[in-house]
């Protein structure tokens, strides 16, 4: 089975990310990493492709910085990587993003499973995932914590899915788009040979016209990025002769703050 997954480069999770004086999001000299949630979708794509003697592909939409995430994916063991980029693409507009993503899956032609990580930390959303499923006209299975079975003969999939109130077991007909949770697997580290091979890989870039579509009019516009307001707080370290005295003072404070 051909499994497609999407990824992107995001700032290292430990990086200090801020808006600089020219209004751009900046993370200084910090490296980019694969969007942290995508570690799990990349691993799952490799495993599911292998289990079904198929192929795993990865796609990123965006400028050249996303080649880093694609090369990391190849180094982990994904078979093929494609980047989509063109003038005028606004990657913060989920409708445009999903239109491009669905067109790329259609162009590849033979995929029956698309796997996403739960969300993308840069745009802070998962809406593009569900919109890709709708633009493809495929069934969406979100928050998957376990793939219980894929049956290539009956073209069905059975998964365990998390809800706020508990767990569900769901069956659906292929093709499907799924989003996976942390904990579905243990993502592998790229091997030394993998890293060497990936560093030499040439990653094809598909343009909007390569996909044979026209972009929808932008449906949301980025106005500005801002640093969150500084937490204007003075920390009060609570002292006392004994732990009992300290917690008693703390409870006084919390009652004054009306948060109990």
């Amino acid at each position: 089975m051909h499994v497609i997954t999407f990824t992107r480069s995001t700032p290292d999770t430990a990086a200090k990310v801020e808006v600089n004086s020219s209004g751009q999001v900046s993370w200084g000299d910090a490296a980019t990493v694969v969007n942290p949630w995508d570690e799990y979708s990349l691993e799952e794509a490799i495993v599911q492709a292998k289990n079904t003697s198929g192929k795993a592909s990865v796609i990123a939409i965006g400028p050249e910085m996303h080649n880093d995430a694609l090369k990391h994916s190849l180094a982990m063991g994904i078979d093929e990587a494609i980047r989509i980029w063109d003038d005028g693409i606004d990657v913060t507009d989920s409708l445009a993003w999903a239109t491009l993503a669905a067109a790329a899956v259609n162009k590849m032609g033979d995929a029956e499973l698309v796997i996403f990580g739960k969300e993308s930390i840069d745009v802070g959303t998962d809406q593009h995932i569900y919109q890709t499923a709708r633009k493809l006209g495929w069934t969406m299975l979100s928050y998957v914590s376990k793939i219980l079975e894929i049956n290539p003969d009956t073209k069905t999939i059975k998964v365990e899915k998390m809800l706020e109130q508990g767990k569900q077991v769901i069956t659906a007909s292929l093709p499907v788009v799924i989003s996976v949770m942390k904990g579905i697997n243990e993502p592998r580290y790229p091997s030394f040979i993998g890293i060497r091979k990936a560093s030499k890989a040439q990653i094809p870039v598909w343009s909007v016209s390569d996909l044979g579509i026209s972009l929808p009019a932008s449906s949301s516009k980025l106005v500005a990025y801002e640093n969150p307001p500084a937490r204007d707080i003075t920390t009060e370290i609570i002292d006392g002769e004994s732990v009992e005295e300290k917690v008693s003072k703390l409870v006084d404070k919390l009652l004054e703050e009306k948060v109990l």
Partner: protein
């Protein structure tokens, strides 16, 4: 008819109460647009819930109780919502950013080629343009977006970011029944089973969260001889027998740092931070959490933060309003006892 639609989420025939926050937010927008608030309710008991929505700000409700809409599945829900949106052309469609709300709003926005913003924490109308603020870069940056009218815009709001109106039992919404958009045989997804977790306080809805970190492993209680890993046993015992009683007396949800989750001390669903949940309770108690930047991103929106840590230099103290420097295994049981006394529990 122009309107502000609100999807009222239900589970097993009852409204999910955070939906009333979406109705509260919708009331403000509808007032400035001079249009009605319309609650959209699908599934078991939808008519009664649609009438109940009137107490929380809905003028009218569109309901469908067809059996194909119970339990929730995105496909039939999105098909029907998209059909209603195409027919009635609401200005704005709102829902709370729960797992179902996120996917339903996004799907219907795609079906109708509408703009969308998710996990919004602030919004206002500027003429017909909807201005929204939402956390990006795992909460390290705020993004301001404009969704221009005319045309429908979809928004999910972060839980606890907007206030529900107080229930007004003198009010009720006019209920109109609509037909499903998909036939039962057109739905390709089947829910085989559902295992509910009873009595769990949801991190996203919690007014108070009590979280534990790596420091949970410093439990002085000795593990039994057959424990596989002493520190995992100690930390788990600490979550269950030291932190949980504090959460109980406060009616709080239990959170955890990534370090605690990755070390196997507690399940992933409790993780707060960059690859966990973003939360904004009134009170956040961090016990034995040093306060890595990834954790801070997920909880810095909390109103009051209390840090309990042995290390007075831990970064969490810079974010905290109140701190106690000390071993959580001394401080937390004392705090629990004091709260029991003071809150009369």
């Amino acid at each position: 008819m122009s309107a502000v639609f609100v999807w009222v989420e239900t589970l097993e025939g009852k409204a999910i109460s955070s939906s009333w926050e979406a109705l509260g937010a919708a009331r403000d927008l509808a007032n400035s647009l001079s249009v009605p608030v319309v609650a959209v309710v699908f599934g078991q008991n939808a008519s009664a819930i649609g009438a109940e929505a009137g107490q929380y700000g809905a003028d009218k409700s569109l309901v469908c109780e067809d059996t194909s809409l119970e339990p929730f599945r995105m496909e039939p829900y999105a098909a029907l919502l998209s059909k209603l949106v195409k027919e009635q052309k609401p200005e704005i469609v709102l829902a709370v950013a729960t797992s179902r709300g996120r996917e339903l709003m996004a799907a219907s926005a795609a079906d109708t080629d509408s703009g969308m913003a998710s996990e919004v924490t602030e919004m206002s109308l500027d003429g017909s343009t909807l201005q929204v603020t939402k956390p990006t870069y795992a909460g390290k940056i705020l993004g301001k977006f404009a969704l221009e009218g005319p045309g429908t815009r979809f928004v999910t709001i972060r839980g606890r970011a907007f206030k529900a109106l107080d229930a007004d039992s003198s009010k009720s919404a006019a209920v109109e029944t609509v037909s499903p958009a998909l036939g039962a045989d057109e739905i390709l997804v089947k829910v085989e089973s559902f295992e509910a977790e009873v009595g769990k306080v949801n991190l996203n809805d919690a007014a108070i969260i009590v979280s534990g970190g790596r420091g949970m492993a410093n439990n002085p209680t000795n593990p039994p001889a057959d424990a596989e890993d002493a520190s995992v046993w100690k930390a788990k015992d600490g979550f269950e027998n030291v932190l949980a009683p504090l959460a109980d007396v406060l009616g709080a949800a239990i959170g955890a740092s990534r370090a605690a989750v990755d070390a196997g001390y507690i399940d992933y669903e409790h993780q707060v931070g960059q690859t966990g949940k973003n939360v904004n309770p009134d009170l956040y108690v961090a016990a034995g959490i040093s306060g890595a930047i990834q954790h801070q991103a997920g909880m810095r929106g909390s109103k009051i933060i209390v840090a309990i840590n042995k290390d007075g230099e831990a970064p969490i103290f810079k974010l905290a309003r109140y701190g106690i420097v000390g071993d959580l295994y001394n401080v937390v049981p004392a705090l629990t006892a004091e709260l029991k006394k003071r809150l009369g529990k």
